[in-house]
Symmetry: C2
Subunit: 331 residues, 2 copies
């Protein structure tokens, strides 16, 4: 295993330290608990928190900032954040208007966020609501998940809900909005090559030299089909068709399209996927209002990508367009 | 070879088509000549153009927009853009105030940009100046280069010069600024794993399972040393020391730091490198004003990163901070 790391057990701490060093004015870090939080002052808004195992960067720590998340709780690589980190983060971001947890659907993450909610309720606050994100259409249940997995669609949920929270919406309204966005977003991905966790030092699953995994999960969980490598037009059509059919998206719909790289795939290949998807959507009579192409929710060094569609309305369009002051921006 | 592509010969066209589809309001494409240009109207500014072989995305096509480049000429993967594309692009972006070519130092690219300048001079305009960027401290000459190579430091040149061009600076002033920024920026990179070009279908060079290449070039050209894999602290110190020593950067300097991923390395590892570099710079008494961490100038799917330092003044800081409306942004 060759990676830009020191000891495997220090990977997450060193990464978050690099984040804090790189954005000292805007990003705070409670290193011991792996809590990343906004340092800029804010009042009169509901706190928005997400969290999960690390290894999905920029998700979530790199989305902390005005217009998106107020804090992120990072677990070890591919393992849930701790209960006390979530509880502390909720207290930190609360401004008297409550806290919304946005959690991708994995059993471990859900359990810890639910326990944190119960503990906070027992201890008298802050008021917490939780929305589980489950946009992955690939499989019904999965290795670490009862029900559908949460994947790249989560980023669009953070973006829309985060923007709305800056406008002063209350906790109930934000919860309803998050549920609604989640119900309108669908994703499916595939892997060309598996990822290697630093602790294990070898791939989390194996793929033959000529194999791909259609519908792969964010930790390398099995998808719908292990098949032979095919050219991009065929793979991307498989993903897009599965996504379209699921909601279903139909002619006349207006959507946001996200092509999400899984970590090890170059930007250029992601744009090839974007061009193919645009053709397919045009053929289906679906209008793309906005396209997102980058690494948004990754699986360490996994190669491959996912296709996400979000059915839009005027409110979502407005909130997607509002600025997000997040550390991952290029300039 | 498993990549998100159709035919190798269509990779660049399909990628640029995906870019245009994804940013239809702001990005224009002359597909046949692989010219990417700004669609928003602008007047009274010098045109800024860059170009090179493809495979370094987001460099350069994805930096076309207000505040950076007015057009980019993309060649085939790792091969120079054509003469007529450069000539056409210069005519397209000229608003009567001339055109500045910002070119990374590779023999092929230089030759075509120089021929284009001569042809435009012969044909009566527009007036063109060229600045060659050569920030890579690794080696004196290289496989495709007489003199030092141009690498990730180029992005900071585009950013500063592009911002200044929006303020109406004239061609001479912009040329001087580009020369000055180039003389204050230094970079060195390393590879954990080589890249695979679509046409060749196999790595451009070979690295043993336990080897790394210190000072690698953007196309896999040899660097200073082929050595055994080491932990991040040691590798990043080697890069940073080489960069510091070269200008030299000294205690009291204020810098911009760029940790540039080479294409296949996850964001998380780049931030580990950023944290290490921050420690080293602090120890050297150098103050980091701004940190850039992402894939800025890549080599397809190569794994590894580079460290860039730019010695700052107030003018550079102001220009780096001004907005750039470029297609690669996350939101």
């Amino acid at each position: 295993m060759k990676k830009i790391i020191n000891k495997p057990e220090d990977v997450v701490h060193e990464m978050l330290k690099g984040l804090k060093d790189s954005r000292p004015e805007t990003i705070g870090l409670i290193d011991k608990k792996r809590i990343v939080y906004r340092k800029d002052p804010y009042l009169n808004k509901v706190g928005i928190i997400s969290g999960s195992g690390s290894g999905h960067e920029p998700d979530q720590a790199f989305y902390v900032g005005k217009g998106m998340l107020d804090a992120a709780c990072a677990g070890p690589v591919f393992a849930a954040p701790t209960l006390d980190a979530i509880v502390d983060a909720a207290r930190m971001v609360d401004r008297g208007r409550g806290v919304l947890f946005l959690v991708k659907n994995y059993t471990g993450d859900r359990a810890y966020f639910e326990m944190a909610s119960e503990m906070l309720a027992f201890e008298g606050g802050p008021t917490v609501e939780t929305v589980i994100i489950n946009d992955d259409v690939a499989v019904k249940d999965s290795t670490f998940t009862a029900g559908r997995r949460g994947v790249a669609g989560a980023i669009l949920v953070y973006k829309i809900v985060g923007a709305k929270s800056e406008e002063g919406a209350n906790l109930d309204a934000l919860k309803q909005l998050a549920l609604e966005v989640n119900s309108n977003v669908r994703t499916m991905g595939f892997a060309l090559k598996p990822c290697t966790t630093p602790e294990k030092g070898s791939p989390t699953f194996s793929l033959g030299a000529d194999e791909i995994e259609i519908g792969v999960g964010l930790h390398g969980e099995p998808g719908r089909e292990r098949t032979t490598y095919k050219r991009a037009n065929i793979i991307i059509k498989t993903l897009t068709d599965a996504v379209l059919k699921d909601l279903p998206f139909t002619s006349g719909d207006e959507v946001a399209l996200m092509i999400n790289g899984l970590g090890g795939t170059p930007i250029g290949e992601l744009y090839i996927a974007a061009g193919i998807t645009h053709n397919l959507l045009k053929d289906s009579g679906i209008r793309v209002h906005k396209t997102y192409v980058n690494n948004y929710c990754t699986s360490l060094d996994m190669e491959g990508c996912s296709v996400t569609l979000l059915k839009l309305n005027e409110e979502y369009k407005r909130l997607l367009a509002s600025p997000a002051e997040i550390p991952i921006s290029y300039f």
